[in-house]
Symmetry: C2
Subunit: 349 residues, 2 copies
């Protein structure tokens, strides 16, 4: 099912009142964020590129952690943040991811459940922990610099073993929108899980939404992402840099045209410049919500997607969706951590 | 050594430049705080008394955690917060506590080390983890209500096994002030560790400072605390309620007189009303620092002690000590978590 028409009809599943129907089921890498404030020197010292996510092995993660100052642990994971955002907006959200039976796994499961997100029967914690190997819950070391920008070093741990057998198909089949994070394309076995999730979504009449996650992620998987867009996806999220890389466009306007040609409903975020939606009647430009002080941009894209998808599953038009996405992003960048701290439901009124 | 004279001479170790000399070595229960915002309803539902710390077993901790919303994990532990505060003020601090070789233990050790606090050779992680028993790193479930007040349910885990054999005597003997938390009197085996720490302090010419920690803690150990004060302690920290309970006084003035009679340098904190110091020339009343919004009072007493002890070990008079304590407390109650978020060194200038 492609959201190719100029209205948002396809993108608005009817409120059929089906018992157990979920607005959004997100599939992604389950991670606990380990957040610290630091100067840009630290990034240089540990060899990370500002504003991006780098996958690191256990040793490298330990090395970066040693260099980091005192930190705060908060549940994260891109798609999980989006699921939590949908739930905190008052929507019904589900999540599929994989943690180990260790303390951070317990933290992740507690936090996402306490936010009101439904976890499938095959959901974590389903892997015995072994801290001496990679069989521990994944963690994302997040270094927040003075400008509020975040730089991430992710050790996936057991999230790197998320396979089709971990996919709770019953949960996925109850979704109106199945939301996939591009990061999962970094994990060979997870691709099969993604493809299976897409099949289940198509079989149950759900929309498939995807975020391409990160510029480096787009570089790594450009060809596969473009293939997916041709046949399997209805809604696309990317930021400006990612959109340029994805479509190999020389400039923003060209990237927008390329996005429009895909026929997908595409939301391109531009940080303080707001967002643009194409694939509907006319391109829609929405200004960013003013933020008093940008404290930590971790989760900005995730929460934009949450607001957008909540709107999409609640009868809002693309402009309203983009506006709600912007409101949610503005909330999450005004404090440390990638999950909302206030009741988002007031944003929907 | 008792700080009985009217000057603060005894309370100001000379700046003898001894290599490896530490300003403050704190001994306490090593805990990771699990913080959440909630309404007072939750406290009633889980049977906790607002503003106090309740010790709970593994099952009860699990029950409270289940009822809690999404949370944030930050290293805590009363005396550990104080040690971190001293280090962040630019002082030299050490810490003795006990964690397990699990993920939260790793978090605790990382955070206190990254703050610049020296851990003794017998310091954590020294206990193999066993999450199915009490052999896990201790945690403190902190429920922050709308008024910024915090209510705590603590499961001590391996912190409940801190004994004299865990005391790094070399580290303790390098202290100018050995700082003990009253909470440790809840742990039978820890009392022996405390008594040994006091012996080492006396032998090396260090001052002994103690906080009585919590009103319920005072109720449980009033007699033992009063005995300690008679012979083994130089500096006492208590809040108003604790001071009244400790001395069995009918009112604040009577409690101050009783504190004065002990001959100790005593700092009594009164929340927004500031603090009072007795045991020096004249009682000193110091106003609280104004705080724009009290977000979370967790750590207020711990950071007051940090500022006070930093002052005491850096040639400041009691009034300056109390003022610096108040400044540190004001910083920590203006955000979530019990450890400072800004560079405290600017407070000392």
């Amino acid at each position: 099912m492609q959201a190719t028409d100029s209205s948002t009809g396809d993108a608005r599943p009817g409120t059929d009142g089906t018992v157990g129907r979920l607005d959004v089921v997100a599939v992604g890498s389950a991670l606990v964020d380990v957040l610290t404030n630091a100067s840009a020197d630290l990034l240089e010292r540990v060899g990370l590129t500002k504003g991006t996510m780098t996958l690191v092995d256990l040793q490298s993660a330990a090395r970066v952690y040693r260099e980091m100052g005192p930190a705060t642990e908060v549940s994260g994971g891109s798609a999980a943040n989006t699921a939590v955002g949908v739930a905190m907006l008052g929507g019904r959200a589900g999540y599929v991811g994989k943690v180990a039976a260790d303390e951070l796994g317990e933290v992740f499961v507690h936090d996402i459940g306490a936010a009101g997100v439904e976890l499938g029967v095959l959901a974590p914690p389903n892997v015995p922990a072994d801290p001496s190997s990679d069989r521990a819950t994944g963690r994302c070391l997040v270094i927040v610099t003075e400008d509020g920008e975040r730089t991430m070093a992710t050790h996936l741990g057991v999230a790197s073993t998320l396979g089709p057998e971990d996919l709770d198909e019953e949960l996925v089949s109850r979704a109106r929108v199945v939301y996939l994070e591009g990061y999962l394309w970094d994990v060979e076995v997870a691709k099969a899980a993604m493809r299976r999730a897409i099949e289940v979504a198509h079989a149950s009449g759900a929309l498939v939404a995807i975020t391409v996650s990160d510029p480096f992620c787009v570089r790594r998987h450009q060809r596969e992402f473009l293939e997916l867009l041709r046949s399997d996806v209805d809604v696309l999220f990317a930021n400006e840099e990612e959109a340029l890389l994805l479509f190999g466009s020389p400039g923003f306007d060209a990237a927008l045209s390329a996005a429009e040609e895909t026929g997908l409903l595409t939301a391109v975020t531009r940080g303080p410049a707001g967002s643009v939606v194409v694939g509907c009647a006319d391109p829609i430009f929405v200004r960013a919500e003013p933020v008093e002080r940008v404290v930590d941009t971790t989760g900005a894209g995730d929460l934009y997607a949450a607001g957008f998808l909540y709107g999409l599953t609640h009868g809002q038009d693309p402009e309203q969706c983009a506006r709600l996405g912007g409101l949610c992003a503005a909330e999450v960048i005004s404090h440390i951590g990638a999950r909302p701290e206030v009741d988002l439901r007031e944003l929907t009124s």
